[in-house]
């Protein structure tokens, strides 16, 4: 078991290293750099000398190998550097934006799972009944609708009927100003949750159908347990495991939709940061944010895998 855990951790560290290397080179392969992107705004003053000067200030004139070695050494020591754009340290930028993203991400997951689990369950119990068909139809629609469109239509509904005001200027946290924060998050969290629901719901439904046919469920029924106990204790527990397995993918999907939702609703989170850093060629911020997202998903996968290994001995042997 220990050997298995160590092997998995080493693999995870290697993947994070690959992601970091990828993002380091990706942002440098893109045409233009921060010097041209920022000076391009006031083209009059952007002479070749200015650009060269700016590059030298930012350390972008060094050979790529040296830059890479520096980045690697700094990152290993958890020094992420300073943002080109704001001059603040990258840690400060992340510290400011991460809480917004975690807030929204958790809200999306709460909405997603509190819809997906009962709906998947009901759909499996009433297999091939009208209820099952309509719920599955809804899930297929949710999977097909672009998240930005669902969010736009929801804002349209809110605007049309003056349901509530959305405070996009104050940028409140839930713990600071719950009333304004929740109206601000309401549309993105439901749009994101709705989009994230479909896969989980469909997976849970098919797993439930599989589990409900198993012998141990028949045994549980035969010994006279109530149907509700059979379903929650015996069936749902086992059907939820595969849902947990794809948790890493689920989280990556949610972060992906957060990139768009944060952009639409002016939420200064990680997703918004990665966009602005990418377009402004703010290398330190871009590299670090991609790295942090990757650590997040890889860590989730790692925890899930290890938990799985603990529960199911067959896994750690393969």
């Amino acid at each position: 078991m220990q050997a298995y855990i160590i092997r998995r951790i080493l693999g995870a560290v290697f993947v994070v290293f690959l992601v970091g290397t990828f993002s380091f080179f990706a942002i440098r392969v893109l045409p233009g750099d921060f010097a041209t992107a920022s000076l391009g705004l006031d083209a009059g003053s952007a002479s070749a000398d200015n650009i060269a000067q700016r590059r030298a200030d930012l350390g972008l004139d060094k050979p790529i190998g040296e830059q890479y070695a520096n980045w690697l050494w700094d990152t290993v020591r958890l020094d992420l550097g300073d943002s080109f754009l704001t001059q603040n340290t990258v840690w400060y930028e992340i510290g400011r934006s991460l809480p917004y993203s975690i807030e929204l991400g958790v809200l999306i997951m709460i909405v997603g799972f509190s819809v997906a689990i009962p709906v998947g369950l009901i759909s499996a119990i009433f297999q091939d009944k009208a209820l099952d068909y309509s719920l599955r139809g809804l899930a297929i629609l949710a999977l097909a609708a672009p998240v930005f469109w669902t969010a736009a239509i929801a804002s349209l509904v809110v605007l049309q009927w003056d349901l509530f005001l959305i405070d996009v200027i104050g940028q409140p946290h839930l713990w600071e100003d719950p009333g304004n924060a929740i109206t601000w998050y309401l549309i993105p969290m439901f749009a994101g949750g709705f989009a994230g629901t479909a896969t989980t719901m469909r997976l849970l439904r098919s797993q439930m159908l599989e589990v409900l046919r198993q012998d141990y469920v028949r045994t549980a029924r035969a010994k006279g347990l109530r149907e509700s106990v059979v379903i929650t204790r015996h069936a749902l527990r086992n059907a939820l495991l595969p849902v947990l397995t794809v948790m890493g993918v689920t989280i990556a999907t949610i972060i992906g939709s957060q990139v768009i939702l944060e952009n639409m609703f002016n939420i200064p989170g990680i997703g918004n940061k990665v966009l602005t850093a990418l377009f402004a060629r703010d290398n330190p911020v871009f590299q670090s944010v991609v790295l942090i997202i990757a650590v997040f998903t890889v860590l989730t996968n790692l925890v899930v895998d290890i938990m799985y290994g603990v529960i199911d001995p067959r896994i750690r042997l393969s």
Partner: protein, 326 residues
């Protein structure tokens, strides 16, 4: 050498093209009947393909044509005061922006007075090219890499798997945004990069299929009689992976269409061609008063993705029941 002919055995022969077409129709009919949802998905997809091919026939207007209406307040040579009150007074015609849907413009007009129906019709082309093209690239690339990875186990396999892990640890949208910025954002480049970004998923899917087939006895038998690796791959493994290839191809299409719509929505999509994602964004500026551009363009994205997803689900159920719900 004389052959013994058994009169009860009908000699095997290849079916004629007509018979082939007939049996294809029969299986299509069986598919539509057995999988009504998949059948309706197929209908949606066929309709969109027809719309894309016949866009110039059913467009009603040129998508770039700017419509104008006579200016009711028009006055030749207005005074400075009148111009200050109404800047448009000097022009005989006005751009007929934000017309409501109706007989003249089925879906209304946008901010620049262009016909939304024609724009939506033309947008189908980009979505179809992107969805089908990226999926072809992802499947072909995934097939090559997945086969190499599965067949030459060991360090090569390990490295490819870790790179796949790496690609999956980055949100798909971010990956696509980075890739598409590397080159000029032409349609072809965007299709190519979307396919590359999709390689992780197809590689993983195809690798596990090849691993399974590789263990089967007929591969062992082929190896025993001395077939080369390449021959085993092409003659024995590949034909047994066709079902997985079709599944990998069909379930990705919707995701690529959504990804293209998303980057276009963010203003980083392919340039010089009408795009639904970009239309949804354009309509957001006046969403509260004139929502039609956003509503119709987004609705079109949902319909086409729905069609491909339904079709893909049904194909997967038919071809590989074990993957149901995956």
């Amino acid at each position: 050498m004389s052959q013994i002919v058994d009169p009860t055995v009908v000699p095997l022969r290849d079916p004629t093209p007509l018979e082939r077409a007939g049996s294809a129709m029969v299986s299509l009919g069986r598919f539509m009947k057995g999988k009504p949802l998949g059948g309706s998905g197929l209908v949606v997809v066929v309709v969109f393909i027809a719309v894309a091919l016949l866009a110039t026939v059913i467009q009603r207007h040129d998508p770039d044509e700017i419509f104008e209406t006579p200016n009711p307040d028009y006055k030749a040579n207005p005074s400075t005061l009148e111009l200050a009150r109404n800047p448009d007074i000097g022009s005989p015609v006005l751009v007929s922006q934000f017309e409501e849907p109706g007989g003249g413009h089925w879906f209304g007009t946008d901010k620049f007075g262009r016909d939304i129906w024609s724009q939506v019709i033309h947008g189908s082309r980009l979505s179809l090219i992107v969805g089908l093209g990226a999926s072809v690239i992802a499947v072909v690339g995934g097939l090559i890499i997945g086969m190499i990875s599965a067949y030459y186990a060991g360090i090569v396999d390990l490295l490819i798997q870790r790179i796949v892990d790496m690609l999956q640890a980055i949100p798909f949208l971010v990956l696509v945004l980075v890739f598409t910025q590397i080159t000029e954002r032409s349609v072809l480049n965007v299709v190519l990069w979307l396919g590359v970004a999709g390689l992780a998923i197809t590689t993983r899917l195809i690798r596990s299929a090849v691993l399974q087939v590789r263990e089967s006895e007929f591969v062992l038998a082929a190896r025993v009689v001395g077939a080369s690796d390449l021959r085993i791959m092409i003659r024995h493994v590949l034909p047994n992976c066709v079902a997985v290839l079709i599944i990998a191809f069909s379930i990705g299409i919707g995701a690529y269409i959504l990804a293209e719509a998303s980057i276009s929505f963010l203003g980083a999509g392919p340039q010089g061609i009408p795009s639904w994602g970009q239309m949804v964004q354009a309509g957001r500026g006046s969403l509260d008063l004139h929502p039609w551009q956003t509503v119709f363009a987004g609705g079109a994205i949902m319909m086409i993705v729905l069609g491909f997803n339904l079709l893909g689900d049904a194909l997967r159920d038919v071809l590989d029941p074990r993957l149901r719900g995956a």
